[in-house]
C-alpha cells in the first residue's frame, strides 16, 4: 500500500454506503492499518446522495479531494459519475450498474447520463474499471453492496486482507444478515 490510500464510497441513501464504510474501517483496524473515515448523510435517508471517504495511512482524517481518490466504490452509476473529478490516472473504480432514477429523470425532465460512455472513458484513461453488469436479480437489495465489495477485494490495490474482511462482517453486520452478507461477498469475490 502506498503511504496513503484514499477510498470513496458513493451511492443513494439506503444502499448501505455507511455500512460499507464501517466495514472497511473495522477491517482495516483488524489488519492493523491506520484508518479514518468521514461520512456525509444528513437528508440521505430520504433518497438523496450519500458519500463517504475512507483514508488508509497515517495523518489522514477521511478527507477526500478532487483527483485524490485512489479507489472509488460506486453503488449507483449516476452517483459514481457525479464524482468523476475525484479520480486520477492511477484510480481503480468499481461501479455497480444498479440504477436508481432521481425524480427529475423519472419525470422526463432530465436524462440519465450515458454511463457506458463514462465507463469507456475511464477504461481508456485510468488504471482499472470494474463495471458490474452481472445479473444480480437474485440478490437481496440490502446486501448487494457486499457483492460489490467482494468484487473489489480481489484487486491488488485493495489494502485489506480477506480474513480481516470476513471478521469485520461478523463484527459489524446485524446478526440476521451475516449469513446472507458472507454469501454475497463470496459470490462477488469469485464471480
Amino acid at each position: 500500500m502506498k503511504e496513503t490510500l484514499k477510498t470513496m464510497v458513493v451511492g443513494v441513501g439506503g444502499q448501505g454506503v455507511v455500512l460499507l464504510t464501517d466495514l472497511l474501517v473495522e477491517a482495516a483496524l483488524l489488519a492493523g492499518i491506520p484508518v479514518a473515515s468521514s461520512e456525509i448523510y444528513g437528508l440521505s435517508q430520504r433518497g438523496g446522495s450519500v458519500t463517504a471517504g475512507i483514508t488508509f495511512g497515517e495523518n489522514t482524517n477521511g478527507f477526500i479531494e478532487q483527483a485524490g481518490v485512489d479507489i472509488l466504490i460506486g453503488l449507483e452509476p449516476l452517483e459514481a459519475q457525479r464524482c468523476a473529478a475525484y479520480l486520477h490516472r492511477g484510480s481503480t473504480v468499481v461501479i455497480d450498474n444498479n440504477r436508481i432514477l432521481p425524480y427529475v429523470v423519472n419525470a422526463g425532465n432530465a436524462a440519465y447520463p450515458d454511463i457506458e460512455k463514462f465507463v469507456g472513458f475511464l477504461t481508456a484513461h485510468i488504471h482499472k474499471v470494474i463495471y458490474i453488469t452481472d445479473d444480480l436479480g437474485s440478490i437481496k437489495p440490502a446486501v448487494r453492496n457486499l457483492y460489490v465489495l467482494g468484487k473489489l477485494s480481489k484487486e491488488k490495490v485493495f489494502p485489506i486482507p480477506y480474513e480481516c474482511l470476513i471478521k469485520a462482517i461478523h463484527n459489524i453486520v446485524t446478526p440476521d444478515f451475516v449469513t446472507a452478507s458472507l454469501r454475497t461477498f463470496e459470490l462477488g469475490r469469485n464471480n
Binding site: V35, G42, R46, Q66, L87, A107
Partner: protein, 1133 residues
C-alpha cells in the same frame, strides 16, 4: 444493540485502540467523566450522541439485563429526549443543581432555542458539572443555517472547546466536565459535522462512575434578582480570567513543529485537520509552526501572544465560518503593537461561508508559503462528466403519509393564483416544498409555520383566503403549541394541519411526547390538547382516505377562526406501518392499457385533447375524489369521436373555448348537434336517467357563447397548416354527411367541391327538420364556414341530370356520394284514393312547413302514417302551424318499438299529439273530410274510423336509384340504399365512397350521417394518400343501431352560475394520451416510468395505496399476488 451498548459501557475499560465516530467518542467521554443524566433534542449532526445514551438508558432499565449484567446496570444514567432544547437545557441545569452531572446535546440552531437558559444561569451557579454539546453544520448539509456557535462563548461567557478530530472530541468532552466543576460554570463543546461524523483512531479509558449524592443547596445565588446581577457579571468575568484555566489551555492548545520559522499558522477545529494533512504530504514541517487551539474561549490570549512574539514574518488564521480567532488575534497584535502581517478570511480563497476542503487548504497554504504544493495527477476531460448531471435531492419516502396529506390539499388549493398561502416547517414535512408536490410557500425555523400563518393572516386581513400552517407532530410539540395558543388567543383565522406520523422522522425516528413507544413515559394525545386550548374545529383525518380527507380539509378551510386538522398515519419506518397498510396478499399494479394512452385512435397525429394536459389532468383528478358518479368515458363514445371526457373537463374548468374547439375538431355542426342530436353517448351509457352526463346540453351551452361560436380560427389554422395533398374530391349532396366529409378533407389539404341539387346546402337538416327544433341561422353560419375554409359549392346540380357519376369519376380523384333518400315511396292505400291536395309525403310537408307555404287551414286534423322521426316532426309541425290543429300518428310498431327517438315521442305527447301505436290504415275514402278506417296491427280487425282533413305519409323513404345506376342494382338494397364496406364507406366502384342515409348501414340520425361522412373521408384518405389507420369513431358508429334501453326525456341542467357545481358530481375518466398526473403531482419513488408507461417498483412500494386514488384513469389497482407474475422482485439471496 446489546453488544454495542455493552461495548460502550465496558469493553474499553483498559486503553484499547479503536475507531470511533466523533459523536460516539463524545458520548464515551461523558460516560468516563461520570455523567449522571443526559438531556437532549434530536438534531443532525448531534443525534448519535443522544442515541448512545438512549440505548444505554434502555439497556440499564431492562430487568433481564439487571440480572445478567449487574455491574453495568449499577450506575444508571438518566436519559430523556425533552420536548425541545430549551426544556432540555433547563432540566439539565436543574439536574446539575441537584448535584447530578449533566450533559445536554443539541444541534446548532437548538442552542438558539435554549439560549435564554444559558444566558441566565451564568449569572448564578450550578453545582455538579454541566457540559453542553452543540454541533455546527458548516456547508449546511442538514441545517437551515451555518451559524458559528463558538460565539456563545463570547455571548454567554462560558468556556468553549473546539475539537478537530474524534479523539479531540472524546478528550475535550471528558475534560469539560472537570473544567465545569472547577469553574461552577456550564462548558460548551462545539463540534462540526466533519468531526461528529468522522471516524478516527483513539484509545478509551476507564469509566469512573460518579459518586454523587443528590441534594439541594439553598444558596443565595439560586435566586436571580436584579439586585445581584451587576456583581454577578463581574464575578463571571473573573472566573474566566483566573488561573484555573491554565492547565486546560496547556493541554488543549498545542504547538506543532516549533522552531525558528518564518511562517506561523493559528488554526482551530476541522481546519487543523485539513492543515496537518497538507503540511505532512508536502513535507512542509520545516517551513511552518502551527498553534492549534482546542480551548478557544476564554480567549487563550497568553498562548496567542507568545506565539505571535516568536518573530514570524506572516501569520495565517485558519478557522471555518467566522473570523472569531482572527479578529481576536488582530486585536492582540494591535494592543501589543506587534509588527506582523496577519492573514485570514479573503486571503488565498478562504471564505467565511461553507466548509473547508483539502483543495481550499491546499490553495491557501501554497499562497501563504508562496510555493507549489504536490498536485494530484488530474485526467483531462474527466471533470466534464460530472457536469450538468441530474440532481438527486431528498424526497418523501414511498408510502409517506405526508405525501397523501399534501396531495389531498393540492386537489383543493389552486397554486396558480397564490390566494391560499401555505406555511411549512422543519422536518420531513418540509420535503413537501420540493417538486412535484410544490405545496409549501414558506419554511423558516422550528415552529414558525403557525406564527407565519397567523402573522400573514393578520397582515392580509380581508384579502385572500385562509392562511394554512403545516407542521409535523414532533415540531408541534417542540414549538408549535405556544404559537397555536397565541393564535387562539388573538382570534386568528388560520388552518393548522399537524402531520402526525407518530415519530420525529428526519433525525431517525425518535419518540416525542405525542408518540412514545416506551411505556415509561406518558403519551400526550393531541386532539384533547387542542380541545383543551379551546379550539372548536379540531379533527383527526386519515390521509390515505383521499376522498374523506379532501372533504375534511374543505370544511376546515371554510370554518372561521382557528381550525386544526391532525392528519394521522404512521411513518413508513415504524413497525406499525405494515399492519396499518394491510393487503398482505396483494400488490399494487398498473394496467398498461389504461395508463397514458387514449384507446380512441391509433393515429397520434390526430388532435383531440392533446393540449398541455396538466390542468385537465388536475381537474380529472379532483373529479375522481370529489364526484359521486364515476363513469368510464369510453362508455360515452361519440360516433364522431369527440373526446367527451376532455370536453366535459374543459367545461368543469370553465374553459368553454377549448370545449367548443374540441367539438369542432371533430365535427362542424356543434350548435346543430347541441340542438337535435339524439344523444347516443348519453342514452347508450346504460346509466339511470338521473346519472346521465348532459353532453348534448353542454354542447348547446358552449356553442351558445357567441364570441366563441363565431371564432373558427382553429379550423382555419388546420387548413393553413395542412400539407397539400394535391388531390381533388367531389362530394355529391350537401347534407350533413357530405358536408362533414368536406370539413374533414379540406382540413387535411384536399381540394373539395360539393355538388348540391337544391339552391341551398343542408339536406334534410335544412329542409326536413322543422325550424322550431333548432337554430337554423346557426346552421347557416356553420355551413358558410366551409366556404371560408376553401370548399367550393355548386348549387342546382343534380346527379343524373346536370352531373353524372362517371364524369365526376374522371374529373376528380375520388367521389363521395351522399345524396340521401330523396323520395317517399308512393303508398297506394292513400295515393290511390285521395286527391293530391289532401295528402303529402313527409318530405313535402316539412319542406313546405319550413318555407311557410303549407296549404293547411287552421282547425285541421292531420293524420300521419309512420312511427319514425319524420312522422313526429310532421305531427309537431302540424300542431305548431295553427294552435287549433289536431295531429295524430298511426304506426304499426308498438309504443316501445317506435323507431322515433324516445324524447321526440315524449315531446309529441306533451304537445298533445295523439299517438296510436300498433295500428294501420285499412283504407281511406275521400269526401268532405277524409275518412280513415284504422285496424289494429296485431288483431287485424277494425279499431276505429276517423275523420281527418289531411294525411301525411311518413314511411318508406327510398333512394332515387336511377341517379346512380352505375353502381349496379345488385349492390343496392330494396330501398335503393348502397352497400358499402363498413370500415371505409367504399362502394363497389373504385374511388367512389358513400355516406349518409343513402348508405345501406347508415343510422338515420344527424350524428349517424356526420359519422358516416367522416368515415368516407377516411376511406378517401386511405385510397389517395395511403392513410394507414381506420376511422377513429368506427366502433361507436357501428354501435348506433343499439336502441336506447330506456326512453329518457332530455336531461336539463341549470346552466347558470352553478353549472360547474352541478357537474361536479360526475367523474368522467378515460386514459388520456398525455396524462402525466402521477409524475407531475405525486412523485412517489416507487412509481417509475418504463418505456412510456408507469410501473410500480414492488421493491420500493410500501402498499400505502395512495396512487390508486390518484390516477385519474383508474389504471392502478390491487392485484392478488398469485395472479401477478412476480419475476425480479421476489429475491432470494
Amino acid at each position: 444493540m446489546k453488544d454495542k451498548v455493552i461495548d460502550v459501557l465496558t469493553s474499553y475499560s483498559t486503553p484499547h485502540e479503536l475507531s470511533a465516530l466523533g459523536n460516539e467518542a463524545v458520548a464515551r467521554g461523558a460516560l468516563e467523566a461520570g455523567v449522571c443524566g443526559v438531556f437532549s433534542y434530536p438534531g443532525t449532526p448531534s443525534t448519535e450522541i443522544s442515541e448512545v445514551f438512549n440505548m444505554v438508558c434502555n439497556f440499564q432499565n431492562n430487568d433481564e439485563n439487571a440480572k445478567n449484567y449487574p455491574e453495568l446496570v449499577k450506575n444508571k444514567v438518566y436519559f430523556e429526549y425533552s420536548i425541545n432544547e430549551k426544556v432540555a437545557l433547563e432540566k439539565a441545569i436543574a439536574y446539575s443543581i441537584g448535584n447530578k452531572s449533566a450533559l445536554c446535546v443539541m444541534k446548532n440552531v437548538g442552542m438558539n432555542v435554549a439560549s435564554d437558559a444559558l444566558m441566565s444561569v451564568t449569572y448564578q451557579t450550578i453545582i455538579a458539572p454541566l457540559v453542553i454539546v452543540v454541533c455546527d453544520d458548516p456547508g449546511c448539509h442538514s441545517s437551515s443555517n451555518e451559524q458559528d456557535s463558538r460565539y456563545w462563548g463570547n455571548m454567554a461567557s462560558v468556556p468553549v472547546f473546539n475539537p478537530a478530530t474524534p479523539e479531540d472530541a472524546y478528550r475535550m468532552t471528558k475534560e469539560a466536565f472537570r473544567l465545569s466543576e472547577t469553574l461552577r460554570l456550564p462548558v460548551l463543546v462545539r463540534t462540526t459535522t466533519r468531526v461528529s461524523h468522522s471516524r478516527g483512531m483513539l484509545a478509551y479509558n476507564e469509566i469512573k462512575p460518579a459518586d454523587r449524592v443528590p441534594f439541594f443547596d439553598r444558596l443565595p445565588e439560586m435566586i436571580n434578582i436584579p439586585a445581584r446581577t451587576a456583581a454577578a457579571h463581574k464575578k463571571l468575568l473573573d472566573k474566566l480570567s483566573g488561573d484555573s484555566l491554565t492547565p486546560f489551555f496547556h493541554e488543549f492548545n498545542r504547538r506543532y513543529f516549533p522552531g525558528n520559522k518564518e511562517y506561523g499558522i493559528i488554526s482551530s477545529g476541522a481546519a487543523s485537520s485539513y492543515l496537518l494533512e497538507i503540511i505532512h504530504r508536502n513535507d512542509l514541517s520545516e517551513k511552518v509552526e502551527i498553534l492549534s487551539l482546542g480551548l478557544i474561549y476564554p480567549l487563550p490570549e497568553k498562548d496567542i501572544l507568545s506565539f505571535l512574539q516568536q518573530g514570524f514574518k506572516k501569520i495565517l488564521l485558519l478557522e471555518e465560518l467566522d473570523p472569531i480567532l482572527e479578529n481576536a488575534t488582530r486585536k492582540i497584535a494591535q494592543v501589543h503593537q506587534l509588527e506582523i502581517e496577519i492573514l485570514g478570511k479573503n486571503f488565498g480563497g478562504l471564505s467565511s461561508t461553507g466548509e473547508f476542503s483539502l483543495e481550499i487548504m491546499d490553495q491557501a497554504i501554497s499562497a501563504f508559503l508562496g510555493l507549489e504544493t504536490v498536485k494530484n495527477d488530474r485526467v483531462e476531460g474527466l471533470g466534464s462528466f460530472a457536469q450538468e448531471l441530474p440532481p438527486r435531492p431528498p424526497t418523501l419516502c414511498s408510502g409517506c403519509p405526508h405525501r397523501a396529506s399534501y396531495y389531498a390539499l393540492k386537489l383543493l388549493v389552486p397554486r396558480e393564483n397564490g390566494e391560499v398561502v401555505l406555511c411549512g416547517d422543519i422536518g420531513c414535512s418540509g420535503l413537501g416544498a420540493l417538486p412535484p408536490l410544490n405545496m409549501i410557500d414558506t419554511i423558516n425555523h422550528m415552529g414558525m409555520s403557525i406564527s407565519m400563518a397567523q402573522g400573514l393572516a393578520e397582515a392580509m386581513k380581508g384579502k385572500g383566503g385562509k392562511v394554512v400552517a403545516m407542521l409535523g407532530d414532533g415540531t408541534f410539540f417542540h414549538s408549535g403549541i405556544t404559537s397555536l395558543l397565541n393564535a387562539v388567543y388573538t382570534k386568528s383565522n388560520i388552518l393548522v394541519i399537524i402531520f402526525d406520523n407518530r415519530t420525529i422522522g428526519m433525525t431517525g425516528h425518535q419518540d416525542h411526547p405525542g408518540a412514545t413507544h416506551l411505556s415509561k413515559y406518558n403519551q400526550i394525545e393531541i386532539l384533547p390538547l387542542l380541545k383543551g386550548m379551546g379550539i372548536a374545529f379540531a379533527e383527526e383525518l386519515q390521509p390515505f382516505d383521499t376522498r374523506d380527507a379532501y372533504h375534511q380539509i374543505e370544511r376546515a378551510l371554510a370554518a372561521e377562526g382557528v381550525s386544526v386538522l391532525v392528519s394521522k398515519a404512521p411513518c413508513v419506518f415504524l413497525p406499525e406501518y405494515k399492519a396499518f397498510v394491510g393487503h398482505e396478499d396483494s400488490v399494487i399494479a398498473v394496467d398498461p392499457s389504461r395508463c397514458n394512452t387514449c384507446h380512441n385512435h391509433l393515429d397520434h397525429a390526430i388532435q383531440c385533447s392533446r393540449r398541455s394536459s396538466a390542468q385537465s389532468s388536475m381537474s380529472r383528478a379532483v373529479a375522481k375524489i370529489k364526484a359521486d358518479k364515476p363513469m368510464d368515458a369510453t362508455e360515452l363514445s361519440c360516433p364522431a369521436n369527440i373526446c367527451n371526457h376532455g370536453f366535459f373537463h374543459s367545461i368543469v374548468e370553465k374553459d368553454y373555448k377549448t370545449a367548443l374547439d374540441m367539438v369542432r375538431d371533430k365535427l362542424l355542426f356543434a350548435r346543430t348537434c347541441g340542438d337535435i342530436c339524439h344523444r347516443p353517448c348519453e342514452l347508450f351509457s346504460g346509466h339511470e336517467s338521473e346519472s346521465i352526463v348532459p353532453i348534448r346540453q353542454l354542447k348547446k351551452y358552449v356553442s351558445g357563447i357567441e364570441s366563441n361560436f363565431s371564432n373558427f380560427s382553429a379550423a382555419q389554422a388546420q387548413v393553413r397548416n395542412a400539407a397539400p395533398k394535391n388531390k381533388s374530391v367531389a362530394i355529391v349532396g350537401a347534407g350533413p354527411a357530405g358536408l362533414s366529409a368536406a370539413y374533414d378533407l379540406v382540413r387535411e389539404g384536399y381540394q373539395v367541391e360539393v355538388f348540391e341539387k337544391e339552391a341551398k346546402a343542408g339536406g334534410l337538416i335544412r329542409f326536413a327538420i322543422p325550424d322550431f327544433r333548432m337554430d337554423k341561422k346557426g346552421f347557416d353560419f356553420e355551413i358558410a364556414q366551409l366556404g371560408q375554409l376553401g370548399v367550393r359549392f355548386h348549387y342546382q346540380k343534380a346527379l343524373g341530370k346536370e352531373i353524372q357519376l362517371a364524369q365526376l369519376g374522371e374529373d376528380f380523384d375520388s367521389v363521395i356520394l351522399s345524396v340521401g333518400m330523396g323520395k317517399i315511396n308512393r303508398l297506394p292505400v292513400v295515393a290511390d284514393h285521395l286527391p293530391a291536395n289532401k295528402w303529402f309525403s313527409s318530405l313535402e310537408f316539412l319542406k313546405k312547413y319550413n318555407d311557410k307555404s303549407l296549404p293547411v287551414t287552421p282547425g285541421s286534423r292531420i293524420f300521419v302514417i309512420g312511427g319514425g322521426n319524420s312522422a313526429i316532426d310532421v305531427a309537431r309541425s302540424a300542431k305548431r302551424l295553427h294552435a287549433s290543429n289536431e295531429a295524430m300518428i298511426s304506426c304499426i310498431e308498438s309504443m316501445e318499438n317506435m323507431p322515433a327517438f324516445g324524447e321526440e315521442v315524449t315531446h309529441a305527447r306533451e304537445e298533445g299529439v295523439l299517438i296510436m301505436p300498433s295500428t294501420y290504415v285499412h283504407h281511406c275514402e275521400s269526401g268532405d273530410h277524409v275518412k280513415i278506417v284504422l285496424n289494429g296491427y296485431i288483431s287485424k280487425s277494425l279499431l276505429e274510423t276517423l275523420e281527418v282533413d289531411y294525411v301525411v305519409v311518413a314511411i318508406d323513404q327510398q333512394g332515387q336509384t336511377e341517379d346512380y345506376s352505375e353502381l349496379g342494382a345488385e349492390n343496392l338494397t330494396e330501398k335503393g340504399r348502397i352497400r358499402v364496406d363498413k370500415h371505409s364507406g367504399a362502394s363497389n366502384l373504385e374511388n367512389v365512397f358513400v355516406a349518409g342515409d343513402i348508405c345501406a348501414d347508415n343510422h338515420m340520425s344527424l350524428i349517424g350521417a356526420i359519422a358516416s361522412g367522416k368515415r368516407a373521408a377516411v376511406g378517401v384518405r386511405q385510397k389517395l394518400e395511403g392513410y394507414q389507420f381506420e376511422y377513429e369513431g368506427l366502433q361507436a358508429l357501428l354501435g348506433l343501431e343499439r336502441k336506447a334501453e330506456k326512453r329518457q326525456a332530455s336531461m336539463q341542467y341549470d346552466t347558470g352560475d352553478n353549472l360547474t357545481e352541478a357537474l361536479g358530481v360526475f367523474d368522467l375518466f378515460q386514459s388520456c394520451e398525455k396524462c402525466n398526473h402521477c409524475i407531475d403531482n405525486l412523485g412517489c419513488p416507487a412509481l417509475i416510468k418504463v418505456a412510456g408507461k408507469m410501473v410500480i417498483d414492488l421493491a420500493k412500494c410500501t402498499k400505502c395505496g395512495l396512487c390508486i386514488d390518484v390516477c385519474p384513469n383508474n389504471a392502478i389497482s390491487w392485484v392478488k399476488k398469485e395472479s401477478l407474475e412476480i419475476v425480479a422482485h421476489e429475491r432470494n439471496a
